[in-house]
C-alpha cells in the first residue's frame, strides 16, 4: 500500500474523506501543505508521529557494554596484527630461500618495510587505540610485534648474506699500509 519512497520523506495520509474521493492515495512530502494545515489545525492537540514511533520509552539495557567490548576487541586486533603476521612471514621466508634473486629480495624488502612503516606511524596507531582502556599495553604489544617483524627481516637479510657483518665486507675500506722503509738495489751492474 505504502510507496517505499514515502517512508522516510513524509507522512502517509489515510484520513480525510474528501482526499480519498479525489484520488486513490497521495503521498504528502511536505508537512507544511495547505491541506494538511487545516488538518493540523483541526486536531491541535494530537501530534502526528512517524510510523513505528512509540511514545513509551523503550528500556535500553545491554548496548553500552557490548560496544565497549567491541572497541576493546578491535583494539587488540590492531595491537596483535603484527604478531599474527610473524608465522606467515616465517613461512614466506622459508619458501623464498636464501638465494639472492629478485623475488626473495622483494619479499625481504616488504618484510622489512612493513614493520618500519608501522613504527613510523606509531602515533596514528595510538590515536586508534585511544578509546581502549588498555591503551598502553596494546601499544606495547604492537611495538613488540613490529620489532619482532623487523628482527625477522634482519635475520632474513643476515641469512641471505646482505648484512655487512663479516670482515670481508669491510675489506675494500682498508687502506694499504704505509711503507716504513725505502729499499732498492739489484744485481751488480
Amino acid at each position: 500500500m505504502a510507496s517505499p519512497g514515502g517512508q522516510g520523506g513524509g507522512a502517509l495520509s489515510t484520513r480525510g474523506g474528501s482526499g480519498a474521493r479525489r484520488m486513490k492515495w497521495a503521498l504528502e512530502l511536505s508537512l507544511g501543505n495547505t491541506r494538511s494545515r487545516g488538518d493540523r489545525q483541526g486536531g491541535q492537540g494530537d501530534v502526528v508521529y512517524p510510523i513505528g514511533y512509540s511514545e513509551k520509552p523503550v528500556p535500553d539495557t545491554s548496548i553500552q557494554e557490548t560496544d565497549k567490548n567491541l572497541v576493546e576487541k578491535r583494539c587488540w586486533d590492531v595491537a596483535l596484527g603484527p604478531l599474527k603476521q610473524i608465522p606467515m612471514n616465517l613461512f614466506i621466508m622459508y619458501m623464498s630461500g636464501n638465494t639472492i634473486s629478485i623475488f626473495p629480495i622483494m619479499m625481504v624488502c616488504m618484510m622489512a618495510w612493513r614493520p618500519i612503516q608501522a613504527l613510523m606511524s606509531m602515533s596514528a596507531t595510538f590515536k586508534l587505540l585511544e578509546s581502549s582502556s588498555q591503551q598502553w599495553l596494546q601499544g606495547l604489544v604492537y611495538l613488540i610485534g613490529n620489532l619482532l617483524g623487523s628482527a625477522l627481516a634482519i635475520y632474513k637479510c643476515q641469512s641471505m648474506g646482505l648484512l655487512p657483518t663479516h670482515s670481508s665486507d669491510w675489506l675494500a675500506f682498508i687502506d694499504p699500509p704505509q711503507r716504513m722503509e725505502i729499499m732498492g738495489g739489484g744485481m751488480v751492474l
Partner: protein, 968 residues
Amino acid sequence: MAKLILLWLKCIILYNAVDAVFEDQVGKFDWRQQYVGKVRFSHFDTHVQSSKKVLVATENNVFAALNTRTGELFWRHVDKSGPEGNIDALLHHGQDAILVVGNGRLLRSWDVNVGGLNWEIVLDSGSFQKACLVGQQGTVKHVAVLKKNIISLHYLSNGHQKWIENLPDSETVDYQTVYSGGNGEVYALGIVPHSHIVIIAYSTDDGEIIKQISVEAPWLSNIVASCAVIGQGVLICVDSATPSLYMYNLNPNMDDLQMTQIPLQSLGLEVAPDFQPVLVSHQPNSAHQPLSEFFLQLGPDNFLLLQFNNGQIVTLRDFKPALLVSFATTGEKTIAAVMSPKNKTASSINLFSAETGRRLLDTTLIFVMDPNGGKPEKIYIQPFLKKDDSVGYRAMVQTEDHTLTFIQQPGRVMWTREEALSDVVTMEMVDLPLTGTQAELEGEFGKKAAIQDGLMSMVFKRLSSQLILLQAWISHLWKLFYDARKPRSQVKNEVTIENLSRDEFNLQKMMVMVTASGKLFGIDSKTGSILWRHYLNDVPSNAAFKLMVQRTTAHFPHPPQCTLLIKDKDTGLTTLHVFNPIFGKKSHVTPPALPQPILQSLLLPLMDQDYAKVLLLVDDQYKVSAFPSTKNVLQQLQEMASSIFFYLVDSSQGRLSGYRLRTDLSTEQIWEVVIPMEIQRIVSVKGKRPNEHVHSQGRVMGDRSVLYKYLNPNLLAVVTESTDTHQERSFVGIILIDGVTGRIIHEAVQRKARGPVHIVHSENWVVYEYWSTKSRRNEFSVIELYEGMELYNSTVFSSLDRPHAPQVLQQSYIFPSAISTMEATLTEKGITSRHLLIGLPSGGILSLPKMFLDPRRPEIVSEQSREENLIPYAPELMIRTEWFINYNQSISRVQGIHTSPSGLESTCLVVAYGLDIYQTRVYPSKQFDVLKDDYDYMLISSVLLALFFATMISKRLAEVKLLNRAWR
C-alpha cells in the same frame, strides 16, 4: 663514496676473461713495426731494371727484402738466433740469393722475387771461410764454398754437390779466400802467416788440382784484410810496414815464386801513420774477371782510385777528404761512388767513371746527416741508366747507429729505417704533458707568479687565460665539425712533437726506448711514429743500461726528466745521460762526474725542491752519492737515512748483501746471504715494481672471512740454478728474502728442473716457469703468501717488525709451450684483475688470467670454493687462441714486455719488443669503465628525447582532461 663505487666495480669484475679483438678493431689500438737488425750484407736486386728490391742480411740472422720506394718489408726470414743462424755470406745472382748459414752448416738458395726457399743443403762440417760464385763461359752455374780444410762446388740450380776436395796441408795453411775469374778455374788462397801464400787452382769440372804454388810473403799475415784480386786474375796485396803494393799473377802460365813489389813512394803515395791500408776491388759479374781498377785507402779519409794496366799501376784520382767509397755496375757501365764531407752536417756523394776516374755530370747527391744520428758507415749504390744513357742512381747509407737511409738525387730522403730498434734493451712509458693552454693555466697560478703579481694583475691574468681556453675550445669544436664532414679515411691526425698532448684518459704516452747500440728513441704509443731520436756515440758495445724517470710531466713548469745510467762492463766506468723524455733533448742539468765504478742505483721517492726524485748511486767502495745533490736533498737524506736500505746481488760470488745508509752517506752492511757457488748460482733477482698498487688487502673466503695478503714491499725473489746440469741432479731454487732484514721468508726447490727460469713477482705472489727435465715439459709454479685471518699491523708495514712468518701456498701446472718472456699487467689502482702476459717463441703474446695460476684452486670442489669462484685444479694450462692479444701480428724473438697503467682503471698499455715492436692495450677485466665502441648513442638519445616529449604531451593531455571533467 668512491670506495663504495670501487667495491661495486669489484663485484662486477669478479669473474671474467679477455675477449679477443673483433675484426673491425684490428689496428685500432695496436701497431706493429718489423725490423731486420744491423745490416751486414746488402745487394740491390738488379736482374730486372724496374726491380724495387734490396736484399739485406743482418747481424740478427735475418734475411729480408726491402722495398726501395717505401722502405717496407717485402718479405723477411728470421733464422735461429745466436751463432746457429748466423749469416756468413750472401751471394746474389739473378733471381737467386745464396746464403751460407751457421758457420758453414747450411747452404740455402732463396728466390728473390717471392722470398721462397729454392733449396737447402747441409754442408760438411768445418769452419766456414769464404764462398764465391763460379762462372764459366759467361754464365754462372756453381757456387764454391771454402772451409778450413775442404773446398766444395755446388750447382746453383739445385744445390747438389759437384765435387768436394780436401785442401792440402790444411793443418799448417790457413785457407782464407776463394776466387774465380770465370775461366774454368777456382783458386783457393791460403796463407802461412809471415811466411808464404799458398795458391791452389782447381778445375771447375772435376775438382782436379791444376796447379799448386806457394809464394813467399813474409810480411803478410791476413789475406782477407790486405789483399784483393783485380784485372785478369792479379792478386794484389798491400803492406803497411814497407809500405808498398805486392802483385802476383794467378794465371797458371806464369811460374813466378816471388811477388812483384811496387813501393807506394814510387807512386808518390803516403800512408797515414798507424793506418792499415785497405784495398777495395769489384767484380761486376762472377762469370767475368774483376775490374782492373780498385780503391786503395791510405788513411781514414783518403781514398785513391788506381788502375792496373800492363803491370803498371796508374793513379786515376785521389779522393781527399772522402768518407766512403763504393763500386756499382749497371749494364756495361761501372761507376765508383765517393762520399765526401761537405760541412759539419752534410756530405755529398759523387759518381766517377771507374775506367777513367772522370767525374760524371749531375750526379751530386747531398746526404744531410742527422745531428742526433751517427756517422755514415757503409754506402750502397743502386745505379740505373737513364733514357739518354747517362747514369742516375740512388744510394742507401748505413750509419753507425744502424740506421738505413735511402736517398734519391739531389738529396731527397725517400725513407729511413731505424734498425737500432731491433735490439731494445730497456724502456719506460712517460705521460705526455698537458696541452699548451692547460699548462699555461697551471703555470700562471704557480707559486712564483703569486708572489710577484698583485691582485689586479692576477684577475686580468685569470680572465685572459679563460679567454684563451675558450678560444681553444671553439677551435677544437670547429675542427671536430670540419673533420666530421670529411670521409673518415681522409682525416689524419698527424702527431708531431709540437702538438703532443695528453688525452682524456692518458692512453697516449711517450715510449722512451733504449737500444743496445746506444740510440735513444721517443715513440708515440698511439701511432708508433718516432718523435725523437738521440744517438749517444760513446756507448761501449757491452754496456749495461738502467733507465729511470726522475721527474714526470706532472710538475709544470719543470720539464720532465729521465736519467739513463750507462755502465761499461769492462772498465766499470759509468756515465749518466740526463734528458727530457718528451723532446729527447739533453737536459741542462749536469750529471755528477763518477770517478768510481757504480754498482747499483736506487731511485728514492724523496724529491728535491724542483720535484726531481733523488737518485742514489752506490760505488764499489759502498759510498753513496746523490743526484741531484743540493743542500735540501742532503738534509732530507740525513733525516731519512735510517730508513733507507739497499741490497746488492753479486752473482759472480753468489752473495746477497744488504746495506743501510748512514747520515754521512756512507753505508753499513747489515746482512749477507751467501749461496754456495759450487752448487748453485744466482740467475736473477726480482723485486716488486715501485709503481704497483694493490687495492685489495686480502681475499674473501667462501665463509666470508678474509685471508689477508702478505704484501711486503721489500720482498725479493731470488732465482738460482744448479751448476750441475745432469738431468737427474739439476734443480731450480726460489728464495724469497726480505731486502731490508735479509730474513729468508720462504725457500722452494724444484728438483729435476732446469732453466731458463722466467719469473714475475707482484702483489703477494711469485709465478715462475722452468723446464722439468724429469717429465720433459715446461711447468709453471705459483707461490702465494698470506698473513692469515688477521692483519698484524694494518696501518704501517715495517720489515723490522714482523714477528709472524706468512703462510705459503704453492701449486704447479703444466704449460704446453716454451716461453720467451713474461710480465704481469699493471693498472692505475690495482682493482682490475691481473693477467700474465706471456711471450711465446712462436711470436704470440698470451694473456693468461692469473686466476688460473692460483694455489687455492681446489682438487675437490666444495661449496666454499664454488662461492670463491675458484676453478677446480687441473694440472694442464690450456692455451686458448682467443687469449692471444696480438692475433696474427706475430712478434719475432720477443725479448721483453713492458706494461704501463693508463688513466683508465680497466686498461693497461702493453709494449712487446724483440726484433719487432708491438704496442696494444689490454683489458683484463673487460672495459667496465668505458662505453663500448658500438654503443648506440643515436638510439639512446632518440629514445630519451621521445620519452621526454611523450611526457610533455601526456601531461598537457591530462590537464585538459581534468579541466573538462571539472566543467561537467
